[in-house]
């Protein structure tokens, strides 16, 4: 099934939840709104001719340029993306889903953007979403156990964000 036909099929089923797609890229992707993620995920996992039953990777990518002069030249507005790489074991096909989020919820700095958790669909997402929460600062609603996984529990800040500053000290250890 070609990319365009697949996109049309999802658009008919999910309507406005599918907010975009890119088929020219090396790894074509489909953009979905946060509210429609779980329903789309369930459809992709359970449809017999799709069967995307393995979630390979969940990554958080921070699109923000801290340098003001370079920020003026970027083709995108500051945002955060959560990228899901899916794989179908029976059909041996891969698919990329993207959720585009604002960097801060409702524009309030410090309030993490929210995405529903897909750990109910693919259990891998449990640890992957903990990592994206820990490092990129995305809050996954409905996650059974959302706490930091790589950084210590009492760490402040989300290191992979582009405007992250290393703390001056942590429990007496000098940071900068």
């Amino acid at each position: 099934m070609s990319g365009q036909a697949f996109f049309e099929r999802l658009k008919t089923k999910f309507g406005d939840m599918i907010t975009g797609a890119d088929f020219e890229a090396l790894d074509p992707w489909i953009e979905v709104a946060p509210e429609g993620l779980v329903a789309l995920g369930r459809y992709l996992r359970d449809e017999p001719d799709l069967r995307f039953n393995m979630l390979n990777c969940v990554s958080g990518v921070d699109y923000f340029e801290p340098d003001a002069k370079k920020a003026a030249k970027t083709p995108w507005q500051p945002h955060l993306e959560v990228v899901y790489h899916l794989w179908s074991v029976p059909h041996r096909v891969s698919l990329v889903l993207k959720v585009v989020l604002p960097r801060w919820k409702d524009g309030v700095p410090g309030e993490l953007p929210e995405v529903p958790s897909v750990s109910g669909l693919w259990s891998t997402a449990d640890w992957h979403e903990r990592e994206v929460y820990d490092l990129s600062g995305v809050y996954f609603t409905g996650h059974p156990n959302l706490r930091r996984i790589l950084c210590p529990e009492d760490w402040v800040g989300h290191p992979l964000r582009k405007d992250y500053e290393m703390p001056l000290e942590y429990h007496g250890i000098r940071g900068k």
């Binding site: 790894d27 990554s59 990518v61 259990s123 891998t124 490092l135």
Partner: protein, 401 residues
């Protein structure tokens, strides 16, 4: 006194059962690195295992946003440090996919030789360390004796024994030195009969079978659900190997090579008439099968290296595509997974057109393999926990990056 204790109807009034919280702390000889397992046990039976990771987090991904891909190769070495060559290969292939680079034939066959030798070396550690976890020391030494020979070969090729940084974007940093292929063939000839010895040492050892057969059962559905890959997935009976099923950029490396995926089909493993039979107590998806898949993969890799040596001898081209130090990456993003010895290692690179990636993400196979521990360790004995964690063959460097 004696008669009172002999009568089972008399229960001592002050014996209470309580839950214990046992910490298999970050420093532990059997946890394959700095892994903290918190066990909730009812006496000797484990009711819950919670792994805590992050003790080896070295911020490799943040560093990847400040270095060119070639400069980031040493950081990939240190992820799965027991299979450094395969980590280098994964990242190099990902960046080459983004740059749409075509590799000369010689580089391709060189990569097969090196990657499969790396797989043998890694599985030898997996096997030896697994024996060590369960309490036997000799297989560890035997395995490392063979691994030392591979490390000597790698040292001849690139100068390093553990952190190679040999396979780089465009091919390899240096060509194989003269005489290397001959030494490699000698090594393979010496390795084959020794692997048969290891089967007697571990695979058919009655104590080993008692400790691993039927333990840590992982069903194929659960394995796919938790994203387990590599020998963990194949040990549960799922027929998936990226060298055959993966993306074209990776499978074309193995184009023309004859190999079979090591997985049980209809109750049989490939060529299993040559190897000891599966014990009666072993169930598909248990620790024993995961271990057996690794042992058979070593034999498969020996065969692949032999084929690659033949092809490398007659291949045309050079060992690498010359690239500028500050080569600009095309705009875009790619994700590529390769079959590393411990599972599918994925790299995701996002580029905005400058020589330095915007985001370099490593998807670790052991990260997902370890996440299934809390499911498969339920109800086992405390002594089974190292057996299960050892059978997943994890390396903390890869999990924490």
């Amino acid at each position: 006194m004696a008669t009172q204790l002999d009568d089972p109807r008399i229960i001592e009034f002050d014996v209470r059962t309580d839950e214990m919280l046992v910490n298999m702390g970050p420093q532990h000889p059997s946890t394959h690195g700095v892994l903290r397992l918190v066990l909730r046990t009812d006496g000797e039976i484990v009711s819950e295992v919670t792994p805590h990771i992050g003790y080896l987090h070295r911020c490799a991904e943040k560093i990847g946003e400040n270095l060119t891909p070639k400069q980031w190769i040493p950081y990939t070495d240190r992820m799965d440090y027991l299979a450094g060559m395969n980590m280098n290969l994964g990242w190099a292939l990902t960046v080459e996919k983004l740059m749409k680079l075509e590799l000369p034939d010689k580089a391709r066959h060189l990569r097969v030789i090196i990657a499969e030798m790396g797989r043998i070396a890694s599985h030898l550690v997996g096997m030896g360390a697994y024996g060590l976890d369960l309490g036997t020391f000799s297989p560890f030494l035997y395995a490392f004796r063979e691994r030392e020979r591979i490390l000597d070969l790698f040292e001849l090729a690139c100068g390093a024994r553990l952190t190679y940084s040999y396979l780089t974007v465009g091919g390899a940093t240096h060509d194989l030195p003269p005489g290397w292929l001959k030494k490699c063939e000698e090594f393979l000839r010496g390795l084959e009969p020794v692997i048969v010895e290891y089967h007697t040492l571990l695979t058919t050892n009655a104590i080993f079978v008692r400790r691993t057969a039927g333990i840590g059962l992982l069903t194929s559905d659960m394995a796919i659900d938790y994203g387990c890959t590599g020998p963990v997935l194949r040990g549960s009976g799922v027929d998936q190997d990226l060298r055959r099923d993966g993306e074209e950029r990776y499978t074309e490396m193995y184009d023309g090579y004859a190999f079979e995926v090591i997985v049980e089909r209809d109750g049989h493993y490939p060529k299993d008439h040559k190897y000891p039979p599966v014990p009666a107590t072993a169930v598909l998806g248990d620790c024993w099968h995961r271990f057996y898949v690794r042992m058979l993969e070593v034999m498969q890799s020996i065969d692949l290296v032999r084929q690659a040596i033949d092809r490398y001898g007659t291949a045309k081209g050079s060992h690498a595509v010359p690239l500028k130090l500050n080569e600009k990456l095309p705009k875009g993003e790619v994700y590529l997974e390769t079959e590393a010895p411990r599972g599918q290692m994925g790299f995701y690179v996002v580029s905005d057109g400058s020589p330095i990636p915007w985001r370099a993400r490593a998807r670790s196979s052991c990260f997902c393999n370890l996440s299934v521990t809390h499911e498969i360790c339920r109800g086992c004995l405390i002594a089974d926990v190292p057996a299960i964690v050892g059978s997943l063959d994890i390396v903390m460097g890869e999990i924490d990056r």
